[in-house]
């Protein structure tokens, strides 16, 4: 398992051609208390940079962008009823999608943990 990070403050945990994605702790703190998430359905396909969801905090709405090309294979439905999990556990329980990666070479454009740490410093 390898974890990558995007400049849009998402984490991408890769095992084979399946990735689990979510938002980083840094993003969750910046958003403030999350009150709503709009997710797409399993089976949807998307290109890197496409909007694949919206997260609303008490302060504002923020788009979720696809870190790589892919297809949604699983949606974390718990977040619909418990959006606050995105603040409690953004990098574990509150994963947003599992996706099938269609172009693994795009992972090279993402950062590793140290790179992301430097990016947000």
């Amino acid at each position: 398992m390898t974890i990558y990070f995007s400049e849009e403050h998402e984490w991408v945990s890769v095992e084979g051609d399946i990735a689990t994605i979510g938002i980083t702790t840094h993003a969750a703190e910046a958003l403030g208390e999350v009150v709503f998430i709009e997710q797409q359905d399993a089976g949807e396909t998307f290109d890197k940079g496409d909007e694949i969801g919206v997260i609303e905090s008490v302060k504002a709405a923020s788009e979720l962008y696809a870190p790589v090309d892919g297809e949604i294979t699983e949606v974390n439905g718990i977040l619909t009823d418990e959006p606050a999990k995105l603040n409690e556990s953004p990098e574990a329980d509150a994963w947003i999608y599992k996706i099938k990666i269609t172009d693994a070479s795009q992972l090279d454009d993402l950062m590793d943990a140290d790179g992301y740490k430097a990016f947000i410093a």
Binding site: G32, E33, V35, F36, E38, V54, E56, V58, K59, A60, A61, T80, P83
Partner: protein
């Protein structure tokens, strides 16, 4: 004017308390503290919260017949406002729109006026130019602190016993920790509470003393906005502006009988006509029935898909526990219980028109 945001006398305290500072109307203000908007909001509804509102404009008006003169700029009755009482009103323009909303207090030998931070630059010259024989003095050396919530009476009363017996919309000058302050029992959260004008060099000390009370926590602009929205109170620039008449905005209560009969304020022709004939649109509460918040600018449609208005303020209401909004809809649809759709990111979300407020106001009448 410098582009650097200005700091209030409580800036150091905000930073020390972990306030997340943002530029608001040219002022560096805390949007929230570590407790978070949701917690601060609930603390205010359940106990007491302290807000720095020093960015608002405090003004003294002094002169012969000053109340009568100010009535030429606002549609509320001021000449009969007794000493020690405050009243909500607004400057109107020639078209009957609202230039800003404000609180006017009769301080005995002068009027004490508080205007919005974002409109100070307009309101001060407006008063100076149009109030002949009135000395208009903008106060720069006093902080303004709001203590709001059901326990505000205990928090403020502990340092100022005279505040306890005051009623809603009363104002006094009284001593707090050896300093003369102006204390007014009012606010903009829907809760009981006070706004206290404090000399700048004592603002930090007195605010810390309020925060020293077990029931009082600091709250930022984020909670202030969600509190006023749940309480159905208009935010200038969102819900009321130069194009909205007070009658459209359901602010009829702020225009007393004599003024409705006699007029004598800017835009009176249109506003009196609005009273007589009604208006085409009305400001209403809008309750999204799902979980998605609908924010300012979102289109409101009737169930048959006709555009009937738009949202002017919307977000999440922590006390309501779900999304809340207000906005203008055509008068025919401005009926509590009316089902509408909100077009959020292209999708119709069901909502219902409600009678404001979302949370009952809790004033000390």
């Amino acid at each position: 004017m410098s582009d650097m945001p200005k700091r209030t006398p409580l800036y150091d305290l905000h930073v020390e308390l972990g306030g997340k500072m943002v530029d608001f109307a040219g002022w560096e203000m805390p949007v929230q503290y570590p407790m978070g908007i949701m917690g601060e909001h609930k603390h205010c509804r359940e106990k007491a919260a302290l807000f720095d509102v020093s960015h608002m404009g405090q003004v003294i008006l002094r002169g012969e017949n000053v109340a009568e003169k100010l009535e030429a700029l606002v549609p509320s009755a001021l000449t009969a406002l007794p000493a020690g009482k405050a009243r909500y009103t607004f400057f109107t323009n020639e078209n009957g729109g609202i230039m800003d909303d404000l609180i006017v207090s009769n301080a005995g030998d002068h009027l004490f006026v508080v205007v919005n931070a974002s409109m100070r630059h307009q309101d001060i010259p407006h008063m100076t130019a149009n109030l002949e024989g009135v000395e208009v003095t903008e106060i720069f050396d006093r902080a303004l602190v709001a203590v709001q919530g059901p326990k505000a009476v205990d928090v403020v009363g502990a340092l100022c016993p005279a505040a306890v017996e005051m009623k809603f919309m009363e104002t006094i000058v009284a001593d707090i920790l050896g300093t003369e302050c102006r204390i007014s029992r009012l606010g903009y959260t829907g809760e009981d509470g006070y706004e206290i004008s404090i000399p700048e060099d004592k603002a930090d000390e007195i605010s810390r003393a309020f925060l020293g009370h077990d029931d009082c926590e600091p709250a930022g602009l984020g909670a202030r906005d969600s509190l006023r929205l749940e309480a159905g109170l208009c935010l200038y620039g969102n819900d009321i502006d130069n194009d909205t008449s007070p009658v459209e905005a359901s602010l009829n209560w702020a225009i007393q009988k004599r003024r409705r009969e006699d007029g004598g304020f800017p835009g009176d022709t249109r506003i009196l006509k609005d009273f007589a004939d009604g208006t085409g649109r009305k400001l209403v509460g809008i309750k999204p029935l799902g979980r998605a918040p609908a924010r300012g600018g979102v289109e409101v449609q009737s169930e048959d898909g006709t555009t009937i208005g738009s949202i002017t303020s919307g977000g999440f209401g922590p006390t309501v526990g779900g999304p809340v909004a207000m906005g203008y809809v055509t008068t025919a649809n401005a009926v509590p219980g009316e089902k509408v759709n909100l077009i959020v990111r292209g999708k119709a979300q069901p909502a219902e028109i409600i009678k404001l407020p979302f949370v009952q106001q809790n004033y000390k009448r």
